[in-house]
Symmetry: C2
Subunit: 309 residues, 2 copies
């Protein structure tokens, strides 16, 4: 299978590496010159659950990628998805399937501006990864990768990709309700990520504050109204119970938005979480004031740190 | 005039000092042993706009104060107002007027549980003060002290206190709409104080963040609904314009809540600002989700700092 990884950061490299190892023809697309040069000259080195390996995989800029592909995985940052899709239009053929495993909300709508609905496969993943140096990443976990077509006619293709992922040790799972999974994950990130970032604390510390449950409930009530506009039912109490359980199991871990904002002074993805809900509220005529002020506070933090967005 | 200062911190001492100098019989009531001992042994030393002086004024614990007073000024922290009024019940006679110049909301309601409405005088002040050592404070500004009766029959008494304040160089002003002034001041504290505390920045830095106006507007919209339940009209746009002007004139100053919470790790008065509005929303059946999450975030910060409340 001819596969492009559109956005070859840590996670994209992990996926590309394993699919290449499994015998697929993979092309890594990225914008970071040092990373592209390193991969093309020395290969892509991946520490996969502690086991290091190197694969020779071509790496190119989005503007330079040629030919048609069977399958494209988008692994950009949320804010770069649209511009990446814009740039790689030439490689998207009549039957090219595009898989999006990004965290956050609104990506399906973005994809639909560039890709036929029949070719869009949405999913979630719990793999984690990090970049150690240009051309070198670590990739951890055991999956799963949940995946589903968003148009009924895409079911066979989705199941084919699930099989391909499983062949590549990426633990593909066909999902009956991937939109629910996406919203469920957004609920985690739209509470723990943003609140720990505003409060500058880890998840365990947050979960011990007296009103943590009330704060999560206020946010999830608005997420639930937004999910309903996409036909997804989120039970508020059940979701908050689930978040409390997540809190308990995760412990003294700083969520990724805290790492982006506080530790690395990078722009956050809040516009694809609480910000997306606030925007949906305007479009669909419900109220989401909590998500709005949360989004504004995160952006204010970005401004105070001098982070450009 | 026989006057008690109920809560003789920096501001209470400043007021007590000037009224004593003007010939009134003043008693300072406080709970801090070192402060009481210092005042009783060495007198109260006040640096009033750069000019130092010492007055011999008796200082006592709330439980020990004897006799009836003509006038009581409450200068406690917001959260201590009720317990102070409880303790000084014996000194509140049939005609004792009680003046409350505290920042924040809900104090009138607290006073009405302990003091006849006819005897309550509400006000605002822009004097500032700080404690330098037990028995020693500095007191700055030139006023004014706005004051008004909350019951029509209290007008003569209010004007008498205004005259007394002016005699004592405290620049008393009889207000036609003191509730408006109180809400106006609460709007300043309920936006700049809380947002600078959550964001850990000064007022100038806050005012430069891109969505500062939107954040203030979201809060003031809820304050406006709450004010309406007390018969006070707050025009949202005009109020936010005023706040933007305040931002411009104040500059790189950390508001008092930032000093309490971030710098000194003390409990904040958020329950008497945004928290009061959120509580009024429940009682009066309007929505105040922004004030609620803001209050929860401030309390979460208190919890994270290990501040007891």
């Amino acid at each position: 299978m001819k596969i492009a990884i559109a956005g070859s950061g840590a996670l994209g490299c992990g996926f590309g590496y394993l699919m290449h190892k499994a015998g697929n023809e993979v092309t890594l697309i990225d914008q970071w010159p040092a990373h592209i040069d390193a991969i093309n000259s020395k290969g892509l080195t991946v520490d996969f659950n502690g086991e290091k390996g190197t694969e020779m995989i071509p790496a190119v800029y989005p503007e330079d990628v040629k030919g048609e592909f069977d399958l494209v995985f988008t692994f950009t940052k949320s804010m770069q998805l649209a511009s990446m899709l814009e740039k790689i239009q030439p490689i998207l053929g009549e039957d090219t399937k595009v898989v999006c495993l990004l965290n956050g909300l609104g990506h399906r709508q973005t994809l639909m501006q560039y890709v036929k609905e029949e070719n869009i496969l949405m999913g979630t993943t719990v793999w984690t990864a990090g970049i150690d140096a240009p051309g070198e990443v670590h990739f951890m976990g055991k999956g799963p990768v949940e995946l589903q077509n968003i148009h009924p006619s895409g079911e066979a293709a989705a199941k084919e990709v699930v099989a391909l992922l499983t062949d590549a040790k990426l633990n593909g799972v066909y999902s009956d309700n991937v939109l629910f999974s996406i919203w469920r994950k957004a609920c985690v990130n739209g509470t723990l990520n943003v609140l720990c970032s505003i409060l500058d604390c880890n998840i365990e510390e947050f979960s011990k504050t007296e009103n943590s449950r009330e704060m999560m409930t206020a946010i999830i009530e608005e997420f639930s109204l937004a999910a309903k506009t996409e036909g997804v039912e989120l039970d508020v109490t059940e979701t908050v119970d689930y978040l409390v359980e997540v809190n308990k199991t995760v412990g003294p871990h700083y969520p990724s938005m805290h790492q982006d904002l506080i530790q690395n002074k990078r722009p956050t993805e809040v516009d694809y979480l609480n910000g997306a809900v606030a925007k949906m509220a305007e479009e669909h005529n419900f109220e989401a004031p909590t998500c709005q002020i949360i989004t504004d506070l995160i952006h204010a933090k970005e401004d105070l740190f001098g982070i450009k967005r």
